[in-house]
Amino acid sequence: MRGMKRHFGDAAGSAGVVLAFLCTVLMLVFAQNSSAQGEKKPLKIAGDFEKVHLLPPGGPAPRMADGHPDLSGLWYPNSAGRMLQFAEPVDSTIIRQFDPKATPEEMPVFKPGVNPRKGPPTYTPASCGQAGVPSTALEQISQHAAMELVQVPGKLVMLFEYPMDIRIIRTDAHPHQNDPDPSFNGDTTVHWEGDTMVLDVIGIDERLRNQGPFQSRVSNPTLPGGRPAGEENEGGGGWFHSAQEHVVERLTRTSKNYLTYQVTIEDPLVLAKPWKSAPRIWSLASDPNDAFSEVFCTHDEEPQEMKKIRAYEQQNKGK
């Protein structure tokens, strides 16, 4: 490939010209056939969305040599085994990560007198920033993006596409660091409860805002977990946490094709009671050619655009 640029245009080269010529010829042939039939054909849609189906369990979860389930795989936050961003038509039972009626996600309950809706300048995927633990895992559904798990003796590696993130977690029995340096992914210890890998996390940077229940991002207060009236501009169900936050993640590979991720957040300074996510369903990528993708924010036009738009709106307020 000529150069390593990301912009492709007139300099695409002679190969492009040949392909364009062939495409034109094929199109002319196709068009002749179409007009001969004398009726408008329905538009064909790329993406194979009509083939999306509920992935079957696929048999038991594979196991490591020590007998614990092997969580390794490329996982999508749905029941389809593939990315479904803006895919349609897709049945809601396949595209969602949990049934909001069967396992609703409650809103957080804050201690009286505490307002954790506002906090320090924060990092979010909205500004191509990191989301940390556990928001990165909870956020993937917004993009329908992939999580790759690589489990080897003594380690679990978790990779997320959006935002691009990596956690390398020691899985042998070891204690938390004493007063760990704050980090976006925290300090994690691991133990097994039956076939569930339990990740205990402390020391998460206080600049990170917890995403909170997913439905609260929908501005319809009548939906389960939707924002109550008056809270529309409060940033949804998300909140800022204290240095005493304690996060417990539970990973269970229920079958070859399915993984459940559930997280509980405790915070004695902020939350009146622990907040529990719904068990979020992940399905194994079913296309052997599908691979974890690099997603580095290298061309973000939005901060500049938003600055211009906001400046304009400020100047024209009340006009």
Binding site: F8, D10, K44, E302
Partner: protein, 140 residues
């Protein structure tokens, strides 16, 4: 790998999870001014967090302007059946996009594409269907 095709007779918008928009669609783009843009594909930016498609379009006065349309990430485009090679093989040929422009104050001729059709005729999902359109409602 060529994008595979599907003939669609009925569309149901069954989106349960609103897809991620960095600052919220409404903060940046004007949903009330979405339009069909017909022109020529001139280049693409295959980059993150958004790929961009650029097209030359004749404005009502006959002047040719260059539109820059934001799309979803390359990994999402690829998994939605639209590869970089698909765009390259349709370069400098006619294309149509259903797009919504930037809000007032934003860059002129900048917008976000919901659907587009390159010269190969496939309908491609490249962004959020904020208008809840069905293929039949696209006047292409």
């Amino acid at each position: 790998m060529r994008a595979k095709v599907a003939v669609l007779s009925v569309i149901l918008l069954a989106m349960v999870a609103p897809a991620f928009a960095h600052h919220g669609f409404q903060a940046e783009f004007d949903k009330s001014k979405c339009m069909d843009l017909k022109g020529t594909l001139t280049s693409i930016d295959w980059d993150n967090p958004h790929a961009y498609v650029h097209m030359n379009v004749k404005d009502p006065s006959g002047k040719t302007v260059s539109w820059s349309l934001e799309m979803i990430t390359p990994n999402a485009l690829r998994r939605n059946g639209s590869t970089r090679q698909d765009f390259l093989s349709n370069m400098n040929k006619p294309m149509v996009a259903r797009a919504c422009p930037a809000k007032a104050g934003g860059t002129m001729y900048r917008g976000t594409a919901e659907f587009l059709q390159l010269s190969d005729g496939l309908l491609r999902v490249v962004g959020q269907n904020v208008e809840n359109l069905t293929p039949e409602q696209l006047h292409w």
